[in-house]
Amino acid sequence: MNNYLLSADVGFGLLAFFSIVWISYGFYLGRKANDLDGFMLAGRNVGLALGSATAMATWVTSNTIMLAPKFALQLGVWGMVAYSTASFGLFLFAPMAKRIHQLIPKGYTSGDFIRVRYGNFTWILFLIISMVYSMAWLVSMGMAGGIVLEALSGIDYQIGMSVILISCVVYTIFGGLYAVIGTDFIQSIIILIGVVTIGVVVLNQTDVSSIYQKIEFERPELLKVFMPVALISLFNNMFFGFGEVFHNNVWWSRAYAMRESVAKKAFGLSGLLWLPIPIAAGFIGILAIATDVNIVDPDMTGPLVAASILGETGAIFIFVIVFCSLASSIDSLLAATSDLLTEDVYKKLINPSVTNETLRKFNVYIILGLGAVTWVFCFARLSGLIQVLFLSGPLVASLIFPIVCGLYWKNLNKKIINVAILSGSLVGLWCYFNLGWFTASLASAAVSFAITMISAKISPDTINWEEFKRI
């Protein structure tokens, strides 16, 4: 006897079916990825439907499915709202995407902008922060995949994790951003339909007023308007999200890949499509209290509650949604991070005279290498690595104002910008360890903001916007 919600046969069947579908579709889409622009940026011709779907699917990570219910269970209604503030990252990146297109029409990475805008020291600082964040995100998703598949169907952690990772690496290698965006489109539809269906069915099977009464009786703090940690985490989460979106090449590469006329609309629409997902997932977390499902591992709150209410069908839905959300984020990170390493590290630092054909081949080796490194970390299953993702919150938040002001303001002191990033990161990390995680990103952003404002006043350097056109 086992306690798994799905039989291993069903689990293996779903895993095999979706792996084959993604790899085959990736192969099919990849036939257009012949040159460097095709492979890295899908020919810079992505339209509104594919653009908004890929941004939305990428932002639905394992965290959205697993952390949003946990957040709601920990912090109540405000926790649910706090998690959903991550959608503001996409809303505000929408106008920025338009500006990025105007400023750097031939750009490849977010690193291109930082290097030209602030010089080599800031660029290297940026690359270190971005690589720490990206690797932590990549590894945490690989690990989450293995853990969820094992918890739902008893598929061995190492096997589940390996299949998800290998599938994503294979279709990204053959199809580049064409394959990533194409599969994201299908995955976003599955995620959206799946989450909304679960939310509606669960809502129909439960009585909201009795849920309210039960929470009010058992855990009244979760319904209070003044829930201290949840209120503090409201803006903290929002600024963690801004830091993630504004700096990471996952989003910049999509901005470059979209047609200029649709980039703004696509990111705005993706934020709207993403918004209901953490709300629905969070509601499922709240239901854990009302349904008396005992939560032993809080990371499994969402899958356990949905499956306990909906039975095997619910478990299948969760299995598929988790697989899609992981694949849509892992492939994007593999593609965007390999672009950053290919363009910013190999071409700019090691071999400036390299041809685009060689770069195209080199990018494939980088994706393979990234996949292998991620697999090794996931195989070791070091729980501390998840912590690194949360610790990167204050690091990425310190980049928000240097990036935003750098995009729009001509006059900023480059040396003081470095101080802004370093000070914001250090103060944020201090707050993380001494005041709590719920203060770190906000504190980092606040310090970085204050120093960035000073950098606009004290001996500012002036940028010639035309320099970006030469990228």
């Binding site: 500006r99 105007q102 600024f239 032993v296 709590g436 906000l442």
Partner: protein, 117 residues
């Protein structure tokens, strides 16, 4: 047979400034997890009864809380959890700072976009 005991790494009393704690225990099932506001357990409520060896308690009010587990092989030691939420000054301060930063960010982006068009 194993006696019933909590498997917590933290020293007592446990501080929980977010109002939640993940309790784990070991022993022979079935278990009953009891919560009380006093260490005498004169007024208590059963949070969980069953075979699981853990419970994720959230939404605790400010102040001390006492937990114990009754298993088939006896009762565990009492664990004290002290919930101390961040001060209201800190909450209001972070809301003000967050609002200022958010509005500034919006102003920079939207004004910048408007001017660049």
């Amino acid at each position: 047979m194993t006696s019933t005991k909590f498997t917590l790494e933290d020293s007592k009393p446990i501080s929980a400034n977010e109002g939640f704690i993940n309790l784990k225990w070991e022993g022979e099932p079935p278990f009953k997890l009891i919560l009380s506001k006093s260490d005498e357990f004169d007024s208590s409520k059963a949070l969980y009864s069953g075979m699981d060896t853990g419970y994720f308690m959230t939404g605790l009010e400010e102040g001390p809380h006492f937990f114990k587990v009754i298993g088939a092989q006896g009762t565990s030691d009492v664990v004290q959890v002290v919930v101390s939420y961040p001060s209201s000054e800190m909450v209001i301060g972070s809301l003000i700072v967050g609002s200022v930063l958010f509005l500034s960010l919006c102003a920079i982006i939207f004004k910048g976009n408007f001017q660049s068009e």
